[in-house]
Assembly symmetry: C2
Homo-oligomer: 486 residues x 2
């Protein structure tokens, strides 16, 4: 065991720094190799049964040393781990790619081991600068509030917490009032429901309003539902707008929602997990018209900004709403503007990682313009895939493509819908395991479809061309083969 400079005392610092440094350099080379050649490796890997046993062992009493621990990492984890969202041909769920520089920034952050509580530290200024950048890029005023969090679920949770407290001031001290209702479309993300459950509002008070043919919330139906609820003695307080739904990438009419919320005195929260980033691309900005009128906005940076997991953000139009919810310092509003902030006044976590660093370094390295170009590139790629699908009669486009998400299926000729559901379910698996590309399986209008959501800076148009061709060919082959479970 390594001793500290006092004989008989231990430390986790290495006995031999040169050795650990050498191991660190080896890891650096291995990871750079891993990332440089990710295209050549499989999208998905299955763990051999004999490796599984290692993951059921108790922790060792005596340490094996850093080098042996790394060997276990390589043999048990790295060798068996699916590449999924790192791979150029992964378009399932909505997951970002990460990047080699992002990894380096995370190493620096972990080495510094800052607990990001705030106060007079350089790292506090850095995180405040990152939050200011977020406000600027997404059209929020400089005096707005915001905080970095682990991702969309936390960002939506914090947004709805502040919404609840802003509309029911006594909730913080007396508890939630029964009968406060929240509204969003059928297409909203499940994390909104989880937030509503956690906040003591209750999932029965979350209204899932129907969508139109473009998967946008039906604003008239929303308005009627609010009126009905009011008539029934309930208390509508918040509308959740979608900027980029998970299923089809559709955008609610945020301008109409903002008008409605202003008329009805409701809080407008926008879930812009990835879609909010349309705001930085001039050609796409019309999709988020009205975003700047939201009271709060949740979004990720590990999806469409391609930062490594985890980093998301929530912004609040009025910082005072945010602080009144999270701060327990009675003197907060009396403090000088120059006092370095404590992040506990802005959110729920006291222990916080230095996730701001990868955002700061990423934006410096690449500049806003590169992220603009990459977001636009992914959208152009989705349009390219849409055109490819439309050009092949055996494929069928299943939903509009407003952004980066293409839902389609193999339809062949004269095959009934139920058989197509089964075929496309198998097709999605087949394409992933063959390496052609990984799409999610989803349902559009009750029918199984392949869903390609492109938030991947490694994807090329050629990847999508080969994927469309593989889908057509594999689909045709599967249509000819008798299925084992008809």
């Amino acid at each position: 065991m390594a001793l500290n400079n006092n004989p008989g005392e231990l430390t986790l610092d290495p006995e031999n720094w040169a050795e650990l440094r050498k191991l660190g350099h080896r890891m650096m080379d291995d990871m750079m190799d891993h990332l440089e050649h990710v295209r050549d490796r499989p999208i998905v890997q299955r763990m051999p049964d004999e490796a599984k046993g290692a993951f059921t062992q108790p922790p060792p009493m005596q340490g094996m040393g850093a080098e042996a621990a790394y060997r276990d990492f390589v043999e048990l984890l790295l060798r068996n781990q699916s590449n999924f969202n790192k791979h150029p041909r992964f378009w399932g769920f909505v997951v970002g790619t990460g990047s080699p520089s992002g990894m380096l920034a995370d190493m620096l952050a972990s080495g510094l081991n800052v607990n990001m509580v705030g106060g007079p530290m350089a790292s506090t200024m850095l995180e405040m600068q990152v939050t200011a950048w977020m406000k600027g890029l997404l059209g929020f005023p400089a005096e707005a509030g915001g905080i970095l969090v682990s991702g969309g679920s936390m960002a939506n949770l914090l947004g709805l917490t502040v919404a609840r407290n802003a509309k029911a001031e006594e909730a913080k001290s007396l508890g939630a009032r029964r009968g406060m209702t929240v509204y969003g479309s059928e297409e909203m993300h499940v994390c909104v429901q989880k937030a509503v459950e956690m906040l003591g509002i209750g999932s029965d008070n979350l209204r899932k309003v129907p969508v139109d043919g473009d998967y946008r919330i039906n604003v008239q139906a929303l308005e009627e539902r609010i009126r009905e609820d009011r008539a029934a003695g309930l208390e509508p307080f918040c509308v959740v707008g979608n900027a980029g739904t998970i299923n089809t990438g559709s955008f609610d009419d945020l301008e109409a929602l903002a008008d409605l919320c202003s008329r009805e005195d409701l809080w407008l929260h926008v879930d812009g997990a990835f879609g909010a980033w349309a705001a930085i691309v001039p050609e796409l900005r019309h999709l988020v018209r009205g975003l700047d009128r939201a009271d709060s906005l949740a979004f990720d940076l590990h999806k469409w900004m391609y930062m490594p997991y985890d980093v998301g953000c929530v912004l609040f139009k009025r910082q005072s709403d945010q602080v009144r919810t999270f701060s327990n310092r009675p003197d907060y509003f009396a403090m000088s503007k120059d006092t370095p902030p404590l992040f506990a006044d802005f959110g729920i976590e006291l222990s916080r990682s230095f996730r701001a660093l990868k955002v700061w370094m990423g934006l410096k390295e690449n500049g806003v313009s590169k992220y603009q170009a990459l977001v636009k590139q992914n959208v152009d790629q989705a349009r390219h895939l849409k055109a490819l699908v439309e050009s092949r009669p055996e494929l069928e486009l299943m939903a509009p493509v407003p952004l980066n998400t293409v839902c389609f299926r193999y339809r062949g000729q004269g095959i009934p819908d139920t058989a197509l559901d089964e075929l496309n379910r198998g097709l999605s698996m087949q394409l992933m395991f063959s390496g052609a590309g990984a799409a999610s399986e989803t349902k559009v209008n009750g029918r199984v479809a392949l869903r390609v959501c492109i938030t991947n800076h490694r994807t090329t148009r050629r990847d999508l061309e080969e994927f469309a061709e593989a889908a057509a060919k594999t689909g045709a082959m599967m249509a000819k083969t008798p299925r084992s479970n008809p």
Copy 2:
């Protein structure tokens, strides 16, 4: 801008991998140097005013490249950043030290860029193994539930969410009931209040019960308060026990709390942020007697397990309670035990970082025995400091030292308490800026004290000896000097 393999298409991968690799190796060397020599650098650093301007600039439109971004990191951040909890002489708040191997594990995790949603991946098995280790080390049964989170605040929040839903099943769908009350001692952490506020229970329904002379909850007062609340028509449902309070490191009598909770049908949640780890040291285990009877337990690994930020954990005696709160899959309990879990069924986050890796590699590298020895070493060091304080008549011990926390003050001779408060407030700053050591300033029985909380694997007994001597000498000097603001 770097092109992808298709001409005209962009990527965040480097144009020149060899160059980025070289930069990565440089960062590795710089961080190893940084950590190897942290003892020789100041605990705290102030940022020069001229550097502050850089943190108010907007993000660059055109990128500066990875090397220039790193230069900015070094010049603006690293050079001006306080070393605080990395430093051998930092004992403020409760913050862990991190470690060089922890940094390497975080680099690997970020490079892999796994979104830890679970499912059939090697990383899922790894995280499940880590959770199993936590249960085993802290005396929870193998069939208990658990999940890794960002730290104590989140762990306590999840614990109390499950407590609320277990005791009021309809909370998830209908919302929180008014008048449900939670109990803990005056010494409990503020994050419990923030959790209660978020959950729609309300801070007015959090009872802060007095403590005894050893800063342990007065169980009789607790029992009376519960009886009174019941008589007033309120609904007590949860007691929060402390295993290691933030102020003095005291332990509530968990056995007595477990008896009470069992008698009164209340949920016992234990906040064991750092103190829970007393459970792994045979000589300290008596402090947490009764811990294994808790319904839920929150604790950190970035404090006393010295892992880099962020990683904490919450355990649940009955996994079914946890799943009923967080899962929205109606078929969950019908699934085969062999189905790979989805972590969304266990907690609030869908996007999750691969924080499990540093725990897995750390325990493999060092073995349980080294963490046992280090926790015990910190406790022995606290006892050593206590003895040093008691051996000097000009210093005064202000609270018992049950664990790793020593509260003391300079008292000199014949100085009135109000003057001592001011003196010790200045003394704490003076000692930190001089490099003698960083303690928190706290109040014990209404008097200002220096609070030394040792969760630091770099600290030696000699550090504490020099700190005690500096406190005595500096205190004497300050007592002689007329103060500018008497």
